[in-house]
Symmetry: C2
Amino acid sequence: MAERAGHRAAPAHTHPEEVPVQTALAALADPVRIQLVRELAASPVWTRSCGSFDVPVGKAALSHHFTVLRGAGLVEQRDEGPRRVNRLRREEFEACFPGLLDLVLRPDARTQDG
Amino acid sequence: MAERAGHRAAPAHTHPEEVPVQTALAALADPVRIQLVRELAASPVWTRSCGSFDVPVGKAALSHHFTVLRGAGLVEQRDEGPRRVNRLRREEFEACFPGLLDLVLRPDARTQDG
């Protein structure tokens, strides 16, 4: 049997069709995840590794944020050797939650209270 | 000077124009608040008192949920004698966050995980 090159288990994914609206909203109601989604939206698909984002959190917290994004049908990941690269599931998420990503991605969107 | 009939301070409100998208999303990412918003959307404005909703939470928790909804520009409240009555700020919230309320109000929206 062929063995995976990576030493991690392949990430589990959830299709946005399977995602309750509450889960989708909660996934996006976080400043770090909003930043991850914005950077992904501004990058070509499969070009961004998990360590390439400009967010002020440690490795474990970042891993948790990606788990939440996968579980909400927002992000797809795959391992390319040592890198885990990402794709924003823009079209399929938009089909399930019309307009929601646009609210988060619009340039004037304030993410901080006060 | 005329004195207010109620013995509570008038509730503080936030216009949806002042609300960051993250705050709007967080306000709606909760099963109790989704239920409150749905019941409000299905009722004529200013007809629902705070105690009239079918949600499984105590008075203090309910009060907190209404504070969150007011702070997100989703609900307006006023006191009518001993009753505090509610209005969903449907038009002004929709103007600021197009499509967001519709996602929560659509009949097929699943609110529970799993």
